[in-house]
């Protein structure tokens, strides 16, 4: 109530209204997606259907699972996103630690290489990456020179290995490890701990925000990735959910009720993860921006 809050001014009310309207605009497409996924095909086709379904058709979700192997798509996406997350956190944190904390020859050069790698557009790399996968020696029927078979195409290797470690994660970890006090490291060294144990036992527990940030960002980009899985997979059993959705669109016209059910399912895990890890997500994006 306006009376109970002394600081209500017209400007503040206008601000609330503006923000509420903007939020509405941002959320409406998601609401529309869910509502459409619960309509019957007849109602979707009708020109006079309202926003709300006249009959809530929850069966669409069951039918969508029958019409396309969504369970397989979702499982594949999960396997890939989890693998990427684990590998990136592990490998990039080690590299970040080494670059921040160990003085060795060429460490500066290596660091600048990672920074340079950050700036290379996906599209400059993606074609040769595809060729490396295609001509991977001694894989998928290829001989030693990568000829004869299909290499890593249509395999878990192609889906997981090339995108596993990101220069961005290496960079972010390095920044976090740099901020730790020297005393910690020196005390551990005096206790006779080896370098790897200092990294694993002493320093890494101190950079939990970096671990969460990298884990969330990696999972997000892996789950949302489209082009790479589209390029390297052919068979349905290896399709990821984003590619599965786009394939679904072209099969004898578009079944909007299935498609929106599928899209809702593909969106849900990220929304849930975002809502649970919101604090870290927001912090992570902000830190990633300003470090």
């Amino acid at each position: 109530m306006a009376e109970s809050r002394p600081r209500v001014s017209p400007g503040r009310v206008a601000l609330y209204v503006t923000l509420a309207l903007t939020s509405l605009v941002m959320v409406v497409p998601f609401v529309w997606m869910v509502l459409t996924s619960l309509k019957t095909p007849a109602e979707i086709a009708s020109e006079h259907s309202g926003l709300l379904p006249s009959h809530w058709e929850f069966g669409n979700y069951v039918d969508a699972f029958k019409a396309a192997p969504f369970a397989t798509y979702a499982r594949n996406s999960f396997v890939i996103a989890i693998s990427h997350t684990v590998l990136n956190v592990l490998v990039a944190s080690m590299a970040g630690y080494a670059l921040a904390r160990i003085r060795f020859r060429g460490s500066d050069l290596i660091f600048y290489c990672f920074v340079a790698a950050l700036m290379i557009p996906t599209y400059t790399k993606v074609l040769p990456e595809f060729l490396i996968v295609r001509f991977m020696p001694l894989a998928g029927g290829n001989d030693l020179f990568g000829q004869g078979g299909s290499g890593w195409l249509d395999s878990w290797w192609a889906l997981i290995v090339p995108g596993a470690v990101t220069p961005f994660a290496v960079f972010l970890f390095r920044q976090f490890y740099l901020d730790l006090p020297v005393e910690l490291e020196e005390a551990a060294r005096l206790d006779g701990l080896g370098e790897f144990r200092i990294y694993a036992r002493i320093m890494t527990p101190q950079v939990k925000p970096a671990l969460t940030t990298v884990a969330l960002l990696t999972f997000e980009s892996s789950w949302n990735n489209f082009l790479w899985p589209l390029l390297v997979t052919r068979t349905d059993s290896l399709r990821v959910i984003q590619v599965g959705l786009s394939v679904f669109r072209t099969e004898n016209g578009t079944h909007w009720h299935f498609l929106m059910a599928g899209t809702t399912l593909a969106t849900l895990p990220m929304v849930i993860l975002f809502l649970i890890g919101q604090r870290y997500f927001v912090q992570g994006f902000a830190t990633a921006g300003l470090k």
Binding site: S107, C113, F114, P121, T124, L127, S246, M270, F285, G289
Partner: protein, 278 residues
């Protein structure tokens, strides 16, 4: 301990970049060995009206999504920084599209733009306005794609601005208030200059993202109608994976890279060489 990451980067970033540069000067269809053709690819490219169109489209798309998105993002960040209740709810709503896959978002918008009974058509018909076939019209397809781009990207821009605003030194504002500077004056003489590093960061990252837009084009328009929404990335994809002209596609991707670098350098000059700290 840096070895695994370095090996990975060497194989999946270093080697591909070297290969891309090499292949750009060859004619290569994956089946037979690459053949050196000198600058032919580059000559073909600039003789190709569709590729020229795609460069123009990419620039237009970037020009509209980036500055407009940044202005909106900054305004929202300023609003959210005013110490409101429930700002967490607003922030969450505005940021939500950012964590959602572009493919999923594009599919939903495809349905919203549906000319028969999509959300837009339905809304406009309430006001008695007949809507065009958004994505099938050469006039409206690009603005429609741009709208989706702005809508999806706003959250990230807002968030970085919000983080930067929260780090601004409060004493300066107190001093300015004591000196009698108005809120508007404070914004232009204090906030904007102090936000320069954040602005530079948002500008560069948004531009890189906009220049590389692909998923939304693939889903929404397939580059059409009549190439009105095709982008450089989409042309690269077409050359490589539909026409199997890998050398040509590599040359196109080099042009994309050079353009991105040039834009970044120009911006840096214009912003007076500001960098984010660290």
């Amino acid at each position: 301990m840096v070895a695994p990451a370095l090996l990975h980067a060497a194989l999946w970033i270093g080697l591909p970049v070297v290969a891309a540069v090499f292949l750009a000067f060859t004619s290569y269809d994956v089946l037979s060995a690459p053949k050196f053709v000198g600058l032919d690819n580059f000559r073909d490219m600039f003789g190709d009206a569709v590729f020229r169109k795609s460069i123009l489209n990419t620039v237009v798309y970037t020009f509209f999504t980036v500055p407009f998105g940044m202005a909106l993002g900054l305004l929202l960040a300023l609003g959210l920084n005013a110490g409101l209740r429930a700002r967490g709810v607003f922030r969450t709503a505005i940021f939500l599209p950012q964590v959602t896959a572009t493919v999923a978002i594009a599919l939903v918008w495809l349905w919203i733009y549906n000319p028969r009974n999509g959300l837009f058509t339905t809304l406009l018909s309430i006001f008695g306005v007949e809507s065009p076939a958004w994505l099938a019209s050469t006039t409206w397809a690009m603005p429609s794609v741009i709208l989706v781009g702005i809508w999806q990207g706003i959250g990230m821009k807002m968030l970085i601005y919000l983080a930067a605003l929260q780090n601004l030194p409060k004493e300066l504002y107190e001093a300015a208030s004591v000196d009698g500077a108005s809120k508007v004056r404070q914004f232009f003489s204090l906030t904007l200059p102090l936000l320069k590093p954040a602005t530079f960061f948002v500008l560069i990252t948004s531009m890189i993202t906009a220049f590389q837009s692909f998923d939304q084009i693939y889903i929404l328009t397939d580059g059409g109608p009549a190439n009105s929404t095709t982008m450089m990335t989409y042309e690269i994809y077409k050359s490589a994976f539909r026409e199997f002209r890998v050398g040509y596609a590599c040359a196109q991707s080099l042009v994309l890279f050079v353009l991105l670098m040039a834009f970044t350098l120009v911006n840096r000059r214009m912003m007076g060489g500001t960098r984010g700290h660290g």
